[in-house]
């Protein structure tokens, strides 16, 4: 295949919409006083910075930085730090996604704050239909849920991502960058300014190797020889190259594909020593992961448990271990998953350490449609049916009356490992006792 002269634009317009600094923006909807001030949101247990307002970025707070190392900067710039409020973010994300779903029957939810939409019009619409829809999206989301978003539009997912990045980094686009109606040279000029490692699907390691070949920018990659890229880097990067040329290779998946893995892991609020306490935490993590699994109508075939001490406490003895166990058959039954996890924990636990963190990973995830009976197993169809009913009931009760209303016994009741979330905002949209107040004074 020779180099196509320009980016093919006769395709349908794909939009990538994402919220700017999503967690911080969610907080600001209910705290207008945080507008124009440096704000960060911290990860679970108030560990690292996971979301930064533009002001916090400008102040020099690095993404992912441990917050306790930012004390000087925080004081100097009067930075406001908030604990993660996932109940709020999840609800705001649901609102955001459902509003966007109105624009297209074809939506792929890509993460908590971004999704692809097939706008249902040509990528090069002479009347600017795609651009118009993009502007409407920005306006609607800002207006109805209060979130600032950016929209990138192009004929492929890769170009939509690239356009989104341009819109995000350059305020003059006012939140919407549509590559469709641009003349070839203008599009190429934009691609020439984009470093190759900013392209979706080009990792850091690929970028280094590409640089060695003189491929520095998105434009360089677009013009590179497809066969050569495929031979050196494999089919994934070759596909990226084709997508940069405006030829779609990656389809929109209407429903987000079941994730390859489900991870449930947190740092303990306080160091744990005894196995019983750690077991309670692990059981709670499995319970949460299993709920997620069932929401995806999936089953897990493997469960991994890991456990570690605090590597930042250098004067303490360090230990870390993990074990993966295979289940006799893929399951979504919390009790079976707990059985597997607790067994694994017993085998990896060593007395005499101060443990800092544990977690579980569900792997080998399959969708519910296929049901493989075990070759050797005690399981009958009847038992499976009963288990399904029990899990649905437990999930239903917990959804109706709040997480943890019905618990599996191993979870424990006082949970000394509970998270630190010192600066968490109220759950404005999920608890009646937490709703915002307005003064009538």
């Amino acid at each position: 295949m020779g180099d196509p002269p320009g980016v093919a634009m006769e395709r349908r317009a794909i939009a990538l919409i994402d919220a700017n600094n999503f967690y911080v923006s969610c907080e600001r909807v209910f705290r207008p006083d945080l507008e124009n001030r440096p704000v960060v949101v911290l990860s679970n247990n108030d560990g690292c910075v996971v979301s930064r307002s533009a002001e916090a970025k400008a102040a020099g707070v690095p993404m992912g930085a441990p917050w306790h190392q930012q004390a000087v900067l925080a004081r100097e710039h009067d930075i406001i730090a908030l604990s993660s409020n996932y109940a709020l973010y999840a609800d705001m994300s649901n609102r955001f996604m459902r509003l966007l779903a109105r624009f297209s029957p074809q939506q792929e939810i890509y993460s908590i704050d971004e999704c692809f939409l097939d706008l249902g019009c040509p990528a090069t619409s002479p009347d600017g239909e795609a651009t118009r829809q993009g502007r409407e999206i920005v306006h609607l989301i800002r207006r109805q849920v209060g979130l600032p978003v950016c929209v990138g539009i192009g004929p492929t997912k890769t170009l939509a991502k690239l356009a989104n990045r341009i819109a995000k980094k350059n305020p003059e686009w006012q939140g919407v960058c549509d590559l469709g109606p641009l003349p070839d040279d203008a599009r190429d000029a934009l691609m020439a300014k984009m470093p190759v490692d900013d392209i979706w699907g080009v990792g850091y390691r690929f970028a280094i190797r590409l640089l060695a070949l003189g491929i520095r920018t998105a434009l360089d990659l677009r013009r590179a020889d497809q066969g050569r890229i495929r031979a050196k880097f494999g089919v994934v990067l070759a596909r990226t190259l084709v997508e940069l040329n405006g030829i779609p290779c990656l389809g929109l998946e209407e429903i987000a594909s079941p994730k390859k893995q489900i991870i449930s892991s947190r740092s303990f609020g306080i160091p744990l020593v005894g196995r019983e306490a750690i077991e309670e935490a692990v059981v709670a993590y499995v319970t949460r992961a299993a709920e997620k699994l069932r929401r995806q109508a999936s089953r897990a075939g493997l469960i991994t448990v890991f456990l570690l001490t605090n590597r930042f406490h250098e004067n303490e003895e360090q230990y870390q271990a993990s074990e993966t166990v295979a289940l006799t058959e893929a399951t979504d039954d919390t009790r079976r998953l707990i059985g597997g996890a607790v067994g694994a924990l017993k085998r990896i636990y060593r007395a005499g350490f101060r443990y800092h963190k544990a977690g579980v990973v569900l792997g080998e995830i399959s969708t519910g449609a296929v049901l493989q009976p075990p070759l050797f197993g005690d399981d009958t169809g009847h038992d499976r049916e009963r288990a399904r009913t029990l899990m649905t009931t437990v999930d239903g009760i917990n959804a109706a009356f709040g997480r943890g209303t019905v618990r599996f016994l191993g979870e424990g009741t006082n949970q000394p490992w509970k998270l630190r979330a010192q600066f968490r905002s109220p759950r404005y949209t999920t608890r009646l006792s937490d709703i915002p107040t307005a003064r009538a004074a």
């Binding site: 207008p32 709703i435 107040t437 009538a440 004074a441």
Partner: protein
């Protein structure tokens, strides 16, 4: 068509457990279409009645009595819709200084607006033609607890 699922009352067959409300799901042979199928009535839902734009609706608690003239009292629960465009006289949640204020919005003919309290004891807020006014949402309903007055739920 096979069989369809329908809610039926009556005595429990052996092995069945009554579900909440004393009804049990039981397959009913098709071929006897019920007239009710075409005119389904469901129980009144306050969510459906009070919420027009589901994704844009938020609940807000009132503190203070400056809006008593329009029937909004201290402690009331407001149903706030961010999808609505306020008109003259709309009760709105406005952003003022450090937080939210509930007031009645009127536009000034020459530009600008005024946020009016609905109580003689409170002053209005004037916004000049060049002033900035942020409307957070439009109040559609005020839910007022009648009794018991200080129950949390």
């Amino acid at each position: 068509m096979g069989s369809e699922l329908k809610w039926v009352g009556g005595p429990w067959a052996s092995g069945e457990t009554p579900a909440a409300g004393g009804l049990v799901a039981r397959p009913v042979p098709a071929g006897f279409p019920s007239p009710a199928d075409d005119y389904v009535e469901s129980r009144i839902s306050l969510d459906e009645h009070l919420i027009r734009h589901r994704e844009a609706t938020f609940f807000v608690r009132v503190t203070g009595d400056s809006m008593s003239g329009v029937g909004i009292l201290d402690g009331d629960l407001l149903v706030v819709d961010r999808a609505l465009t306020p008109v003259d006289g709309s009760v709105v949640i406005a952003v003022t200084g450090d937080g939210f204020t509930v007031k009645q919005l009127y536009r000034r003919p020459g530009g600008g607006a005024v946020l009016k309290a609905a109580h003689p004891g409170y002053a209005d807020i004037e916004i000049g033609p060049d002033g900035e006014l942020r409307i957070w949402g439009v109040v559609r309903w005020a839910i007022h607890r009648v009794w018991p007055w200080n129950d949390e739920r």
